[in-house]
């Protein structure tokens, strides 16, 4: 199975969308036809737009009783054949974690938009943060991998939502769009094309749904109602879904495969963007909304003749370990501005050969471009 060209569901052209509206349109374009959700600031507009637009594209919208029910209904719908999603913010993302682990172990492709707000706890519900980066990686118990994307514009809220569905289907894995409050509520021009590339899950009648000899480690995925007599379970299972809860070899093999199918393909999955990194002394490693401020700061510093550069992580998980390692061998310092207490800084430090300088801001405000200019200006 490979990518196919699909017609878009809305006329091509330029639209003036909020980030949340762009997510809804990206999901519909990618083929999402089930949404289970629960209201939460600042992501509710995604659900509101879906509830209207699904009437036009014959999707199934369910407002569930809580976020646990939302993620579980999404998993049920996916096994019934849907491309499906939910959207939430920190507290709801926390509630979904058990379901995320179930989706990872059962290799259920789905998309969760986590529009991050200032935590922990109820925190500042209407304020911005990127505090859920590590939760996206480690939120559920046990060892598993996910894919997490970090958009920086409303255009990318649209495009990376499409990418999220394609990656989920391609790798049979939960994919997170780690937006931030500021991006969900920002309005910008979005260019929508007449067609797009979509990936539909591979089916192979009679093929084991939970095991494969293929190098990529991704088994084909049937659906309920196709006569396959599926056994889907969140317990350790063999390639046919039969429980193997006391077989060390079965557990080891399954856990290794659901991790390796992402990690061994990470060079294909990971997207980054580099600017002025070839001759830079200091490179700002940035993601999400903060990368907008970082871009402005780096351009200003270059205007002043200072050799600053930018590495933008569009994919957060799996982490761009090789890219960071290579970059760190050619620059003097990496500067990591984050709307959290250093969640990506720690990851960069695992791989960087040079000095890593963090900048934390957890006040519910975006990081101002001049703040990054000031900090990086001192380092160059």
């Amino acid at each position: 199975m490979s990518f196919m060209v699909a017609d878009n569901m809305i006329p091509a052209g330029n639209y003036y969308f909020s980030g949340n509206e762009a997510v809804a349109e990206g999901a519909i374009a990618a083929g999402c036809r089930y949404y289970g959700g629960y209201p939460i600031t600042p992501s509710s507009e995604i659900m509101e737009r879906i509830s209207v637009r699904f009437n036009e594209v014959h999707g199934v919208f369910m407002q569930m009783e809580d976020e646990i029910a939302s993620i579980c209904s999404v998993i049920g719908a996916v096994w019934a054949g849907a491309k499906a999603m939910t959207a939430t913010s920190g507290p709801g993302f926390s509630l979904m974690q058990e379901g995320i682990g179930y989706a990872a172990l059962t290799e259920t492709p789905l998309v969760i938009v986590d529009l991050q707000r200032a935590g922990p706890g109820t925190g500042q519900a209407t304020r911005v943060a990127s505090g859920d980066i590590m939760q996206a990686k480690w939120g559920s118990h046990g060892d598993y991998q996910v894919i997490a994307l970090s958009p920086w514009s409303v255009q990318e809220m649209y495009e990376l939502t499409i990418d999220a569905f394609n990656l989920a289907e391609q790798y049979r894995v939960p994919v997170f769009l780690m937006g931030e409050e500021a991006l969900g509520h920002l309005r910008e021009r979005v260019e929508i094309k007449a067609t797009l590339q979509v990936f539909d899950r591979e089916k192979k009648k009679g093929s084991p749904p939970f095991g494969t000899d293929r190098d990529d480690g991704i088994p084909p995925m049937p659906a309920f109602g196709e006569g396959e007599k599926l056994l889907v379970t969140g317990s350790t299972h063999n390639e046919r879904g039969i429980r193997k809860t006391d077989d060390p070899e079965a557990h080891s093999r399954l856990v290794a495969r659901i991790n390796n199918k992402i990690l061994t393909n990470r060079d294909k999955i990971i997207q980054t963007e580099s600017l002025y990194t070839d001759d830079a002394e200091v490179v700002v490693v940035s993601y999400g909304f903060t990368a907008r401020s970082s871009l402005f700061a780096v351009n200003q510093l270059r205007g002043e003749g200072k050799r600053a550069g930018l590495l933008r992580l569009k994919t957060i998980w799996p982490f761009a370990d090789r890219i960071v390692r290579e970059l760190s061998s050619t620059v003097k310092k990496l500067f990591i501005p984050e709307m959290n207490r250093g969640q990506i800084e720690g990851e960069v430090m695992k791989y960087a050969a040079c000095e890593v300088i963090p900048y934390y801001q957890t006040d519910g405000e975006i990081i101002h471009p001049y703040q990054i200019m000031k900090e990086v200006g001192r380092l160059v």
């Binding site: 646990i68 029910a69 049920g76 499906a84 007599k229 599926l230 429980r243």
Partner: protein, 255 residues
């Protein structure tokens, strides 16, 4: 004759995991009997279960699509599958702890929405798989591993809970009433909307041994003595009804 139902079991399944004297095997038999008598196509059915002994009734035993979910969440998973593919006939089979305690919110909301599901709650009045802790369905005074001096909280009255949440149909039977129970399972499978059956199923291993029912047969006898029909109940005084379990089919029109 009884072996005819083996065609509904997944090939390679040799025995059930249930303890001697457990009622879940009887319930498993009656569900398959109802499906057989209705001549339903197992390829159009989806069985969803949660965590606990009763979650094993369909998974892995039934030779059909089965979804063995997280603890408490079977109805939420089932809702997504049914709403996306309404052609699936979806039956949720799980235990009292799973469906009414950790999953209680999903139960009342599916009842409120009248989602087209048949939910069978195998009620053994205790957490069996985890070692016999008190449940939201344990009777007052019941001794459990977390209430050795007797349970001090009232149990849920499940059919009333579900009807109160808006379900059009709910029923209660014990596995000691197999003919009525099979008939009601058939009724649920042919009635659109949310249908619910509480099935009293004895757990001699965890409940019986802590509550002085010396043998599995004692628990079966207890159910046979105490379970009475709605009509019988109508003839009894409040005092006579005190220790009885009223069974039958109940609808919202007939409170």
């Amino acid at each position: 004759m009884a072996r005819d139902l083996e065609t509904y079991l997944r090939p390679g399944i040799a025995s059930t995991p249930f303890c001697p004297g457990c009622g879940h095997g009887i319930l498993m038999n009656l569900i398959l009997r109802a499906i057989d008598e209705l001549e339903l196509d197992m390829d159009e059915m989806l069985f969803v279960s949660g965590i606990g002994c009763a979650g094993w009734i369909p998974s892995p035993h039934f030779n059909a699509d089965t979804l063995h979910t997280l603890h408490g969440r079977a109805i939420a998973f089932a809702t997504g599958a049914k709403m996306f593919n309404p052609k699936l006939k979806v039956m949720v089979i799980s235990g009292d702890g799973d469906l009414t305690s950790i999953g209680g919110n999903h139960l009342i909301h599916a009842a409120r929405r009248n989602t087209d599901l048949t939910v069978i709650c195998a009620n053994n009045m205790i957490y069996g798989m985890t070692g016999g802790q008190a449940a939201s369905t344990s009777p007052l005074g019941a001794r459990t591993s977390t209430s050795m001096d007797g349970n001090i909280y009232r149990p849920f009255d499940l059919y009333r809970l579900v009807l109160g949440a808006g379900a059009p149909f709910a029923a209660r039977f014990a596995v000691t009433q197999p003919v009525s129970l099979a008939k009601t399972i058939k009724r649920c499978l042919t009635t659109p909307g949310f249908t619910f059956i509480e099935v009293l199923s004895p757990c001699p291993t965890q409940f019986g041994r802590r509550n002085r029912y010396e043998t599995p047969a004692d628990m079966m006898k207890l159910l046979m003595e105490r379970c009475i029909s709605k009509d019988e109940a109508a003839r009894l005084s409040a005092e006579e009804l005190k220790d009885m379990i009223v069974t039958g089919e109940f609808t919202n029109e007939q409170p």
